[in-house]
Subunit: 726 residues, 2 copies
């Protein structure tokens, strides 16, 4: 063996499941004090020279021992190499060997190797490097423990000002969190809400952040914070937060120095400035660039960065979809090289379907990073099943044409198209203190998918979903052997703390994976892959967007408006329904938002005949009788889509019931109950939108379409979060 | 012309609609101060000798003038005859001539003649006599103006003790009510609730009753009252109401004398005694016969009668379905000949489906009358469409075998089988102060159908439904000519006050009735005829009964029970669901209620293999895996039926929407909204019952059955009357 290779001789390992959720399972038990029994490894030989020790390497070794799936071979080498094809975090695999440039790379390689063992993929992989240097979760967690748009319990990081001292339980939860992230390649976490409290930078809070950072560090997770731009005033007692004012700069300099004294590898700041009422450089007559560059300059000596969000819009009469572009495009080239502009996937706000933001690739001298939303703010929250891999793939693979055909959003942001030394991607976390971490058992797939796409932005969402299902639900020999009732006391309603083993297990394992693939994997994978489009259909098909009830973003409110209400916060602003037709005219005859897209997209979007039908009403206000490609009128197609979405939601219930024997009964019942509500709420969405639009166009429903069962006037008075859910 | 014939020479009559609802329409306008314009008859020649005048004859003439449908012939004779085939109220028809023995018979003949004109039936009818002498509505109206099980507003008779003086509006409403009743042959009305207040017999109340009687009399409607058996105590101040106590008899004698002084043709008493907490002869150690006969003896000199209800059951462990029979059967022969026992159609209580009560025909020396429920207490109340003609036909045509095959309930009660000098039938009214009288626009069909079946207990429910639809919805030439917007101001949301004319009218009339029959009559008739079975399916199929939530009898409550709760008021008492199976065992191995039926019924009901499947769980507790004739297990069939009911309710929405152009828009929208709720509530019924039964049997749903969308635990906490109807 070479000095830099380590052989782990693994004989029979009593295995625990490995997988994203497998890890949840294994480790959430720790959090929940429900540890699985120690892995009873008969004999393990570990060769690991002392000089090569590191916490990361130890973790890699432990992950291998916990997750090994090969009962015939128990020999694996970990190897450090200078192979130029490998980036710092990259790895290559071959049967029995994992190679990387760094210990962190080895850890990622170990997880990938185990994943391939379990999914039956080839163990040969010449090399794998991440698409983005920085792959972050953004936690919209508040210091008081609440989570903005969080649907999985309280914050895992914050519990209020009175509870700043980390407990052992806190630390254990953070370690588990870090391990789960590392298993899918996530290497950064912004610990607090973009709507940031100035208190965030107070010493007690920074100390807790440092404690968190110390638990995340071994797993390669770098810690970042969101800041409030006026912190120098609120916390520092200054009279201004003007970024060009020396005393402000001094204040930030000292604060940054303090942060790095506590967190030496601190990653940097995420800034939501001059957006939705938050302070920003604009308040002092300065540009976004001036604000961002001031901070970036102070962070640079520490290799820190600034992630500056482009999510800004004003309550005026201009098209909200155009504003981020209009604000940031003129600033291209003015940002420091350690500033990166964080752009939401679509021009509005994480809707079930949007076109990609025209800012992608438009800023050619400025680093740009995509912000995706893992938490299902607009996609059914914790109540509904929506696999978002396809949504993100759709965005990442959208061709911007910024440098000709093939200039996908992925390539516009990962440095392969523009000379962008800093690359990153962020996902707004769906994580909370719920025992299963994410609220809906299938929501874990979105955490998983975000990590996988952040690592490889050309990955296939359907392959990712399949992977997740195998890792999460496929019965293993290990589980068969380990799971006796004595060893596994009640999981207390916590599907995340028990491997998803079914009563049918014995049979299942005899027929190996074949039966499982046919009976479980195929139907459930199909359901996952259809889930987002079903939701688009019953919520807002054909490019409709933001038809949500005010504030809560769960139920429908296409009618909502009120005197004095800010118009761009009302659905009628977005759908523009009238007796003539439906949709927001962003064509050259309307707001001309199409002009923010490159040719040939601009012309394609501008013409209803060539505009993709799934974005038709995003770009056009069309008459109800407008004919679609299938020959139906716009109104008929709107009706058909809403109803199709409802019918699909009902089919999901059948699919899930059909796999009952393959799933741990608690998880089964939990998902079953959620799918019930999904079908019920899909009906509410369909009824609310169709009855509302009908009240405007007075057109009959298609003859055979199943009719609404709710009354519009009742729905208008109803808070959909609680409707039918006493 | 003979002295006893009258020719009404009718030239062109600008016609008003004639129909049950047509009458509503025409006359409710009077009530609602929305009179249609006077009929502009160009020339009418009336020959009517003075000595033959009577209010009834005047009404007959007026009805002819108002309702005449024949634009080619305007010549009609009214003729009195001694034809022995005619009973006092009977009539015979031939083209241009209506013959009867009495003026009342002529009035009925006129209505029938006009009905046949409008429906296109033959005008030749050798004779028609009513099946029952007394054809009564029972109003469950309270003196305070409320209506027990009333779903159409307040009482049309009572407005509280402070409002005993009849207003002109009251009187007008009573006349319209009487006319509607007369048009379908109803000749009696019990003006107050069977749960009677002793106050009912106080002088101010009796005076108002007399005023009502005076308005009903010209239409041939006789007035009756419900009494409280302990009135001598409560109102009379006696110490007892023992029917054998002379002072009690004296009190009643004086009271009856007082009543007849106010209402000379008073019909008699309806008595609910010793039932559901009401006083009765049992309280004084006397039998039902002793109680009834005392009153009957006092009424006899005035030709008054006693209708004594058999609806009694005790809160003990015996099978409630058996108790009325057990109590009354031994008394057969002990009742006076002016007592008639009033028996609900089924042994329990107006359920969506019951077998006929075994009392029918079992009392062979005692007059028995059927009590049907027009108001939809257990069949969706004002919210759901259920045409009940079929339910009643099913009961009336049930063969009791009391005197061999062919001993139908109809024949057991109409005097054709037993020598019953007194015959009667009662329907619990669905009438209230709602502008359309009955709440649901289609509920009027049940009032209509009751009258038609009371007149002819062998009539076909489907023919009756067809008749009602033609009379109610078919566009007429008259309506075309009359309905201009000037003449018909807004009906203020009152579908009963405006003829149901459609915007398509002109076209419709050109194509005559053919198009209407195909596009409207066929689908809507089919919907009406399926409506009750659909409801049975989604509420309580296969003989299930009384699964209602406590008290309100609208929504499902199959789970309902509570400590100390009277068991025979809980659904589990009736469905007996357990891990083994479902249903109430009334076979010879169970309560042996089957023994109350005659052979061969007894054996047929006693054997699950021969018991009609639609009554299977009424008579049997069967295992979930019991095979039905279609090969499905009991559980599968229960599921299939509940789902079929829901799907049917959804189809009703499609049917109704398809006829929009044929219906007055207010009525259209009203029914549309009600069908929406019906489909919504059908889903609640299906979900509640299936999820509840599943919680007991733990069996999976059939693979392809559309799944419930509600949660059982949520439903258990929900008051279904208000659920989803804020």
């Amino acid at each position: 063996m070479s000095p830099k290779s380590y052989s782990l001789f693994l004989s029979f390992l009593k295995m625990l499941i490995f997988s994203a959720l497998g890890l949840f399972v294994l480790q959430a038990r720790a959090v929940g004090k429900l540890w699985l029994p120690e892995s009873a490894v008969a004999s393990v030989e570990v060769s690991m020279p002392a000089w090569e020790k590191s916490p990361g390497l130890d973790l890699a070794k432990q992950a291998l021992m916990d997750g090994w799936q090969d009962h015939e071979n128990s020999d694996i080498k970990l190897k450090i190499s200078r192979d130029k094809r490998l980036s710092d975090e990259g790895y290559s695999l071959s049967p029995g060997c994992i190679t990387a440039k760094t210990h962190q790379g080895l850890l990622y390689g170990v997880y990938e190797y185990l994943r391939r063992q379990q999914t039956g993929a080839t163990l040969d992989l010449p090399f794998s490097n991440p698409s983005y240097q920085r792959r972050l979760l953004n936690h919209w967690d508040n210091l008081d423990g609440s989570v903005e748009r969080g649907y999985a319990g309280r914050s895992i990081f914050w519990k209020g000002k009175q509870s700043m001292e980390p407990t052992a339980e806190d630390r254990e939860r953070w370690r588990v969190y870090a391990a789960i992230n590392a298993s899918v390649g996530i290497n950064g976490a912004v610990l607090n809400n973009v709507n940031a409290s100035p208190e965030m930078l107070s010493l007690p809070v920074l100390k807790r952040a440092a404690a968190i950072a110390s638990e995340l560090r071994p797993y390669g997770i770098v810690t970042y914070l969101s800041i409030n731009f006026s912190t120098p005033i609120s916390l520092g007692g200054l009279k201004t937060a003007d970024p060009l004012e020396p005393e402000v700069v001094d204040w930030w300099r000292a604060k940054i120095s303090e942060i790095y004294s506590l967190i030496p590898d601190f990653g940097g700041f995420l800034v939501k400035a001059s957006s939705e009422g938050l302070p920003g450089p604009g308040d002092f007559g300065r540009s976004h660039a001036e604000g961002a560059n001031m901070l970036a300059g102070l962070l640079k000596p520490y290799q820190g960065i600034v992630m500056w969000r482009a999510f800004i819009y004003k309550p005026d009469n201009s098209d909200r979809a155009k504003q981020a572009y209009e604000e940031f495009q003129p600033l291209d080239g003015q940002f420091s090289d350690n500033v990166i502009i964080q752009v939401k996937n679509g021009p509005i706000d994480f809707q079930p379907r949007e076109p990609f933001s025209p800012l992608f690739g438009a800023l050619q001298k400025t680093a740009v990073m995509p912000e995706l939303q893992i938490t299902q703010e607009y996609l059914g929250q914790e109540h509904q099943l929506a696999f978002l891999g396809g949504l993100w793939e759709e965005c990442l693979q959208s061709d911007t044409y910024q440098r000709g055909a093939g200039s996908t959003v992925a390539r516009c942001t990962d440095g392969s198209l523009f000379n962008q030394s800093l690359t990153a991607i962020a996902g707004v976390s769906n994580i909370g203190t719920d025992n299963n971490w994410c609220g809906h058992p299938f929501a874990a797939a979105n955490w998983y998918a975000f990590g996988r796409l952040a690592w490889d932005n050309s990955a296939s969402a359907s392959e990712i979903a399949k992977e997740w299902l195998i890792l999460t639900f496929k019965p293993t020999q290990a589980s068969e052997k380990n799971l006796t009732s004595d060893e596994h006391p009640s999981s207390e309603g916590n599907p995340g703390t028990e491997p998803n083993r079914s009563p049918k297990e014995d049979t299942a394992l005899k027929h190996a994976g074949e039966e499982w693939e046919k009976e479980f994997l195929q139907p459930v994978l199909s359901m996952m892959l259809k889930s987002r489009e079903a939701m688009v259909n019953y919520m807002m098909p054909l490019g409709l967007h933001h038809l949500f009830a005010l504030d809560h973003h769960y139920g429908p409110g296409p009618w909502y408006d009120a005197p004095g209400q800010r118009k761009d916060w009302t659905p009628p602003y977005y759908h523009q329904a009238d007796a003539y037709g439906l949709g927001f005219d962003r064509s050259s005859r309307g707001s001309n938002a199409v002009a923010q897209y490159r040719e040939p997209l601009r012309s394609q979007f501008n013409n209803p005949a060539t505009c993709p039908e799934n974005l038709l009403l995003w770009f056009h206000h069309l008459p109800w009788e407008h004919r679609l490609q299938n020959g139906l009128s716009l109104w008929e197609e709107v009706c058909r889509r809403y109803d199709a979405g409802l019918q699909e939601a009902r089919r999901f219930q059948l699919v899930w019931d059909s796999v009952e024997s393959w799933v741990n009964s608690e998880v089964f019942l939990r998902v079953q109950a959620k799918l019930r509500r999904q079908a019920r709420d899909a009906q509410v969405w369909k009824d609310a939108c169709l009855l509302y639009f009908q009240s405007i166009n007075q057109l009959p429903f298609p003859e055979d379409m199943e009719r609404p069962v709710h009354d519009l006037e009742v729905l208008k008075k109803t808070d959909m979060r609680h409707y039918m859910n006493q």
